[in-house]
């Protein structure tokens, strides 16, 4: 029984990681109906930025964290300006390919700049362990869970309660109509990329003690975050969290109870079955098209 609970808890912690990355997908999807395949790589880059500020320049952890988030928000805006804005309004797959190209590029360039070794950041959460009865919980995992919950709540409120959030939802629904209503769609898209890059950075820095920072971390985790986002219903913020946790738990259970090899495949099998049975996901909207 204890084994089960331990697996469950570590699955939830892992799931929150996927949820954090999926949150980035969902944000950009919610505002522009584009899936950003470079999301994982933004996370990787955020980790490297934080490493540069904290590990190399020797700044305080929190200042370095904040610095990385701000720098990456600016970088997200830059990437949007250079790569996405010129092709806004073209078919979805075109933009998806452009973000795949961006991811490729960032991955390789980061490998060239920071090398291919695993890097580590010393964080205030690296050492401690919380014991609850027989249960062992590392502080770094707890910090990921707490941060995910907090970010989800903040972003949910942002999208549903603020004017800017409403403008973002409107521009995803119908870009041209949003223009007519006086929404500065270009600036909205730019801001959402900045927010998404900032969320990715937060994920990257929090993950640093768990997965370390290397140039491929974004690809590996980014591919796992897709099932999370789809399961929750692309475009739903609570959905990203729930989907992420479900995928994390499924993966960790499959690793423990099923033969070797199932662990890596289980999320994708779940993904394919969700797409087959309920393509709109758990929290997704399903509206029939009127012709």
């Amino acid at each position: 029984m204890l084994d089960f609970v331990q697996q469950l808890v570590s699955g939830i912690a892992l799931g929150c990681v996927y949820g954090l990355i999926a949150l980035g997908f969902v944000l950009i999807y919610k505002a522009t109906e584009v899936v950003n395949f470079a999301q994982g790589d933004l996370m990787m880059l955020g980790g490297f930025f934080a490493f540069t500020f904290i590990g190399i320049l020797g700044l305080n952890y929190w200042i370095g964290f904040l610095g990385a988030v701000i720098a990456m928000a600016a970088f997200g805006m830059l990437a949007e300006r250079l790569v996405v804005r010129p092709i806004l309004g073209y078919p979805q797959f075109t933009i998806v390919m452009a973000t795949i190209g961006l991811g490729f590029f960032l991955r390789s360039v980061a490998g060239m700049i920071w090398g291919t070794d695993d890097l580590k950041i010393d964080t205030p959460f690296s050492q401690g362990v919380l014991r609850l009865g027989g249960l062992v919980l590392a502080h770094d995992k707890l910090s990921v869970i707490a941060a995910t919950l907090l970010l989800c709540l903040l972003l949910y409120l942002f999208f549903n309660k603020t004017t800017l959030g409403t403008a973002m939802r409107a521009s995803s629904e119908n870009m041209l109509a949003a223009y007519y209503m006086g929404i500065p769609v270009k600036r909205v898209v730019s801001i959402v990329w900045a927010i998404s890059a900032a969320v990715a950075t937060a994920a990257g820095v929090l993950l640093a003690p768990i997965t370390f920072i290397h140039s491929n971390v974004g690809l590996v985790l980014g591919l796992k975050a897709f099932p999370a986002a789809v399961l929750g219903g692309f475009g739903s913020i609570p959905g990203a969290l729930v989907g992420g946790v479900l995928i994390g738990v499924i993966e960790s259970m499959a690793g423990f109870y099923l033969p070797q090899g199932w662990k890596d495949v289980a999320p994708y099998i779940v993904l394919l079955s969700v797409l087959l049975l309920k393509p709109e996901g758990i929290f997704g909207l399903h509206v029939r098209k009127k012709v």
Binding site: E33, V35, V83, P86, I87, G89, Y90, P91, Q92, F93, T94, V96, M97, A98, I100, G101, L102, G103, F104, F105, L106, R107, S108, V109, A110, G111, M112, T116, S172, E173, N174, M175, L176, S215, L223, F226, P227, V230, F234, G235, Q260, G261, D264, V265, Y268, I269, L271, L272, L275, L276, P279, G284, L285, V287, R288, K289, V291
Partner: protein, 383 residues
């Protein structure tokens, strides 16, 4: 400018619209046939890769370019073709049989993948095909009794009509080129048949296609099956060319390379598959050239510009370090994808058409002729 005056439906679907085509393609055929006699063996071997990539490119064009169904899982189809080849070969099955079996089996699996894809479109389809490819990759690594897992499988040379065809012989080159030409002719024929017209109709508007009486599901599955089958044939050739296959060869990166083939070549015409394949395969020789010759050239240039010998040596060293950096290929690929989407969305073949039109209409060419229309999609969630 040459005007083609069509008086008949037959004129419209003719394989060679006028005699000029016969001349151009005849010359090209002669050049292809003569290539092994005047090109170095390295370049001939690169041409074999070009033909394999071009076959996959044609397959992807049928699915993505003409039916409008995106796929990032074609490396998996290639892997299934390659592993079928290696597996059947162990039992002494002759080449023509396992070559066709590879295509057939991959086609059937493609159709099976196509069924779930019926309900999906756009981004969901991309994600579904990626997951399919990842699952296949994992199965190849784990199903050790058939695939030998991560140790990989050796592929023996082709035995056909009593002779062997080694993988770097002109015979193998002719085989690959023959398959490529056969596949391209088949694709042209497919596209001027009712099936091909249905594919294009589905790409342009599913709703309109449905209301014209096209069975959308049937044709989508057909498109998947045909595309997968062609990729399976390419997989068989790929396995023979490499003579050794293992799961880590068929990664997501390979699928992306295949998409790049049609993206760079131009995703609206079969010419694009061949041009894109040439471009992608030539990235490797270009990188070698970059590593071997460019640092010396830069150093000589800096000497000419008046830098000291020591400084020139330092420049040579640092540029050599840059050219042989690990991730350079990935960075170049990423840059190419973005650059082509942003600046040359119609690809190399589109550029060729633009140049041709420029001279045909000189001095009346307008840049706006090829401008893409922005469509500002409404939400795809409400489809």
């Amino acid at each position: 400018m040459k005007f083609l005056f069509k008086t008949d439906y037959e004129d419209d679907i003719r394989l060679f619209p006028h005699s000029g085509y016969l001349w151009t393609y005849g010359t090209l055929l002669i050049l292809i046939a003569a290539a092994p006699h005047f090109l170095s063996s390295y370049l001939v071997s690169q041409l074999v890769f070009v033909s394999i990539y071009a076959i996959v490119g044609v397959a992807l064009l049928i699915l993505t370019g003409f039916t409008g169904q995106a796929s990032l899982g074609h490396a998996a189809f290639l892997a299934i073709g390659a592993y079928t080849t290696a597996y059947l070969q162990q039992f002494g099955v002759p080449f023509p049989v396992y070559f066709l079996t590879a295509g057939l089996l991959t086609g059937i699996i493609g159709a099976i993948v196509g069924f779930p894809a019926l309900r999906l479109h756009g981004i969901y389809l991309v994600i579904a095909t990626i997951s399919f490819a990842l699952i296949v990759e994992e199965i190849l690594a784990r199903w050790e009794s058939v695939t030998h897992g991560n140790e990989g499988l050796r592929v023996k040379t082709i035995q056909m009509l009593g002779t062997t065809v080694p993988r770097d012989s002109p015979g193998f080159y002719y085989l690959c080129m023959g398959v490529l030409i056969f596949v391209i002719l088949g694709a042209i024929n497919l596209l001027r048949s009712p099936t091909g017209r249905a594919f294009v109709a589905i790409r342009d508007s599913e709703t309109a296609a449905k209301s014209m009486g096209i069975n959308v599901s049937l044709y989508k599955v057909k498109s998947f099956a045909i595309s997968a089958a062609i990729t399976g044939l390419a997989g068989c050739l790929f396995a023979h060319k490499l003579s050794f296959i293992s799961p880590e060869m068929f990664t997501l990166q390979l699928s992306i390379e295949f998409i790049m083939v049609i993206l760079i070549g131009g995703a609206f015409s079969l010419h694009g598959a061949v041009l894109g394949a040439i471009f992608i395969v030539m990235v490797d020789p270009f990188l070698t050239f970059l590593k071997d010759d460019i640092p010396g050239a830069i150093a000589n240039l800096s000497l000419l510009l008046g830098a000291g010998a020591e400084r020139a040596a330092a420049i040579e060293k640092s540029s050599a370090a840059f050219a042989s950096a690990n991730g350079l290929k990935g960075a170049i690929y990423g840059f190419l994808i973005m650059a082509f989407i942003l600046f040359e969305p119609l690809g190399l073949y589109g550029r060729w058409l633009k140049i041709k039109l420029f001279f045909q209409l000189f001095p009346l060419y307008k840049r706006a002729t090829f401008k893409r229309q922005k469509i500002y999609v409404k939400s795809e969630r409400n489809r």
